[in-house]
Homo-oligomer: 391 residues x 4
């Protein structure tokens, strides 16, 4: 099979994950015959482009992403740029009939996301948003349990995504703290993951009430540092206009209720993406920081409470390792997402989060932001679309 | 010192805890000289009254609680009856100048609670509501950490109280499922604990948005069974008009935000009273099911995440055991509350949750119920009172 | 029923537990009609005797334990004195036909233990050693699981009892650090518990290899401080001649193998009494610091790993609380032991650890100490006795 | 820099890990310029060789490993064949002056291991045994803590490696259950990891007492299935002559004591590689199944018990991800080991477990097997070698 030729747009820190994800396919899933090449990487910053190309052994680099999209030899692009640029790049790529993998969140606002979905619907190529947490083997296992009715009817969802990398007020005011470029703070940046998991595992969210908070209202202007490093020069401070904490309560179409909390300033929580789902017959509890286990109550465990299931080949079909308990990390969540993206390109019908999934998450966040402002429970708007069921 | 003579009103399952709590004072805290006698127990059900008296070695039993209140030889009463009867009994007891310990929640509705608080304010005796979770040694330790500024400014509170004893639809429709007698479901029954812990540890709650749900809408009529046992005779079903799940988002006076969730139908959760508090300098995480430990991040643990503190004499002043890790259970939470109640009677100024604390919790629940109905963020009403600070 | 009249011998810190255990029986188990009186307490130290009597509301105190034993009005005694005095007191009490509850370990050496067992065998009264960890509800549940064959044939036992109260070299050299009075260090003091749990749950131990270590070889001479408090005056140091750490490997009669570790100097472990048992069909894992849960794998959980069982009324027969997850602590382990002791006196045939159980534990420890010295795997000697099966 | 050209010998399940490990270096550590090519794979089974080559996109395959070793274009080999073949292949490779990475355990017996070490000493190339658990970021962090004195003097080590993949008696009798090919059971197969971690973190082991057990004495003859799948055809059974459980107690050169347990039949344990180290100033606790955290007590946490450290860039120098809590899995342990192996080849002096480390682990296991047979505490023999300190 001819290799799928992918251009990477954006040479920042997430580009590394994209490279690992794409390049690992033969080593991990050799029997499936997936082949990828990465002929080019683009970054508007010349140094970043050049360095990334050298670092990742990519033959060619460019500073204009349009050069990638216009390249007839390229089949697909991944977009790893700041949120506010996603729409323009993705729509251009779709119009050039490139398959597109866009980093999450889909865009900085739902309106931009709608344009992306509309463009994707008419392009007839594979469009995917990098909501890779669906691909965590424990989450896939939870999905199968729920679909098999092991939890009965779902009554309640709890999703939390708590981090502390921004708890230090000296973490600089990168674009992630600017509404103009990020759209919002963690309510969107990581909230999109827990909203997506809610949709993936429970169903569509109909109504939201929310509150948001910005606990650190100014930060040092960044001076070329990475997003996560503290800035010692505090002579120039810049205002933060994004949330750093949020809380929501939810109603689902199917009658379940739920909560979602997001934060990047909760000390002691590193990547605490926590999911609890309770149904009439059972429950699951998952914490990303211990992603190789999931706690489940089903009719099988009745009288025994929740069982700690350590993930192994019986849960991922032996895709990763053939012995239980060896464990995966963030890399495999990306690798498994990229596998589905590339399989979608080559075979056409594999489950992977789409632009529409990205938009649906964004619509919930948008309703949450509206509720935080209005104090009223808000209906989640849904951009009309030809029938595209939740996978 | 003359023993404090206490009458117990209500011979149901919680009476056992009251007896243990009152009788254990010399054994546990002998050096403090606290002495209690329980001369009488009342229950409207003759058999319950008689059995309780025999079981607990109480000399006398009555079926009319007024006989206890009118007894000049009685110094204090504890009220362990269904919620809708608290106000009448407590107010009568206060008017008879008895010290009163009332089971939580304070009443079935905030209006009744207001009358109780007003009566208590004018009675000049000790009034306490049995919000005993404050007395868990790990919670007392958390309180001291927060007061010492170890968490900095509190930014976020999360309280959850999840049980599953009512997940089985065959658990009978006892008074706990009747709005007329219980006031509400777990949003009040256990929600009062997590609201109280919020107030105790963080401060007053100003605004609430909430949703509630009743997932099991009818249950078998009870036939003399205990509250927690399933009923096999399902020929007669009765409607449930209380919530069995709820979720709230909160604003605090001091700017912190929060969430509270309550349920008695979440399979796999037994008495999962979970507290997380994050501040600008640290965090605490507590789970009642592991009540002898608490997880804390402070400036001391910076760079190391959260430390698991196993509770020992350094945390409770050696009140219970002189060696760390021996552990306490529900009994000690009651014993420690009763210690404070009796000390308040004999010495006058000990910290113990008062009727006002009970009312403040009820007001938050009332606002939550209002918000669940209105879809709007509701202000928490506060019954006016002479200055009574949160301890 | 006439109350059982118990004299307490020894007014140190463990006396508090004895008082709580004996006095709580009506409050906890009222329906069973158990009644106890504590007319007298003895301590060789006049102040301790007097203070204890006052503190615990005991009418009479004496400084000579023989006065308790010779008192015709006393039915039973509990012995809460240093290890090397157990034999003399217990044998005298047995000869006076008093029922005896002796603190663990049974004695300071196996020879003394043998005399106690022989005396008990001929006395025809109830003899019990305070190996109360058997009475932890989670352990009782484990026992039933094993007896029901839920684990299949037991293959492996792991017991550890790790504490850190003596990790500070300034903890004074109390009698617990003197071989002459304690017999040995934690290998005996807490080792007796994990050996007893091995016997209770798995069966008799036939062979032991062991190593021991004394990491802190001298400590300050105690100056009236409690055992667990540090001593600031280090002008006079005394040698420590007991172990502070030990490790054993075990063979059981039934073919299972095992390990036991004990320590009082492992920082971060408070009362980490840890049990793991693996059989051909399942496993259990228990940690005292989280005593209200136990992790079990059985054929029921096959494919799901280990379930976390939160202890509730279904595990203790509703003896303590009628709602799951409320939790017990050290007090209830003593109360439940005292319940069995008193029931044995009044009804004659209740399961409770006997002097023989205490001796069997001691024999294993003795073999371990011998192996530590010899470097050879040692047979565990067994004092011959008329048929007394492990319960 | 010219790429290091590596031939892989052995096309079984662990070959996948070698391929991932070698191929991922530019994607993960691009800035370091490590480049690897895998021109050839060998397997004695023609189908395995051919399939592996196709699966992993390796240009060439051979059935005779000597063809790899004799290939002048090959710089290094990795050996992923059954234990009893390691010595012959490794020694031939060393004599051909190829750098060698040999799977663990180093060999099936210590004698073979000695020959390998001797050959490595004289070859002057890089020799490494795949004891990759050293490379777990949490373990590297523990190493630094210990070297910095944060634990004080180490007093005690506990290592356990418990699995359950062989608990089902229908798991076939593959070579792993044959002493002739495997050398021993889990005491060697996974015991080498926990012995190696003991040496890496604490120091050399001087004496061992041990017991071993074979609980399942026959298994179905394998019929082409993978090692871990059950065999339904039980018409032909074959004897098992390796241990499936073992327990050891240890003395270290530096006075510390320890225990090690290994098993592949403990139900509910998947890859439970558990490490506890206690010193005079602190402790660490690690469980592979939660490899992205480690629990530490140091003087910093004094009074707070053990802190749960979630691994992040501050612990691995940002080698893997730039945000804490994202997590690694088994793949990264191999990738990090391969990084060190390749860096050792290109730069000469990087820490990586050597053949001598492999031999030292084997010597401890050999002493354990001897003690299990003799019942006597055995000195660990040490093959004499020119000064090669533990890294």
């Amino acid at each position: 099979m001819r290799a799928v030729r992918v251009g990477i747009i954006g040479g920042g820190s997430i580009a590394k994950a994209h490279v690992i994800g794409l390049r690992s396919l033969p080593s991990y899933f050799g029997a499936e015959g997936l082949r990828v090449e990465i002929p080019v990487i683009a970054d508007i910053r010349r140094t970043a482009a050049e360095n990334s190309a050298q670092r990742y052994e990519i033959d060619r680099w460019v500073t204009d992403w349009r050069a990638v999209i216009e390249d007839d030899d390229i089949d697909a692009v991944t977009i790893a740029t700041p949120n506010h640029t996603h729409a323009e790049i993705a729509i251009a790529a779709l119009e050039a009939r490139k398959h597109v993998l866009c980093e999450k969140p889909l865009a900085d606002n739902a309106g931009a996301g709608e344009s992306m979905v509309d463009a994707a619907q008419s392009a007839g190529v594979v469009d995917s948003v990098h909501l890779n947490y669906r691909k965590i083997p424990a989450i896939q296992y939870a999905k199968r349990l729920i679909e098999a009715g092991e939890l009965g009817s779902v009554l309640r969802y709890r999703g939390a995504f708590l981090q502390d990398w921004a708890a230090n007020p000296l973490v600089p005011r990168s674009w992630k703290f600017e509404a103009g470029r990020a759209g919002a703070g963690p309510v969107l940046a990581v909230g999109c993951h827990v909203v997506d998991l809610a949709r993936f595992l429970v169903g569509e969210i109909s109504e939201v009430s929310a509150i948001t908070k910005t606990s650190i209202r100014e930060r040092p202007t960044p001076r070329g540092l990475s997003t996560y490093e503290v800035e010692t020069d505090v002579s120039e401070m810049a205002p933060v206009d994004t949330d750093d904490m949020a809380a929501m309560i939810l109603n689902f179409d199917n009658g379940a209720i739920g909560t979602i909390e997001t934060s990047r300033v909760t000390l002691g929580r590193k990547n605490h993406c926590f999911i609890e789902i309770n149904g009439t017959q059972g429950s699951i509890v998952f914490d990303y920081e211990r992603m190789n286990e999931i706690h489940v109550a089903t009719s099988q465990t009745a009288g025994l409470g929740m069982a700690r299931v350590v993930i192994g080949p019986e849960h991922d079909g032996g895709l990763v390792w053939s012995l239980g308990g060896l464990g995966v990390g963030f890399a495999e969540t990306v690798i498994l997402h990229m596998r589905s993206f590339v399989k979608s390109i080559t075979t056409g019908d594999v489950e992977v989060a789409t632009f529409l999934d990205g938009l649906r998450a964004q619509e919930v966040v948008q309703a949450a932001l509206a509720s935080a402002a209005s104090g009223v429970r808000e209906l989640v708007p849904r951009h009309p679309i030809a029938t595209v069921p939740i996978p």
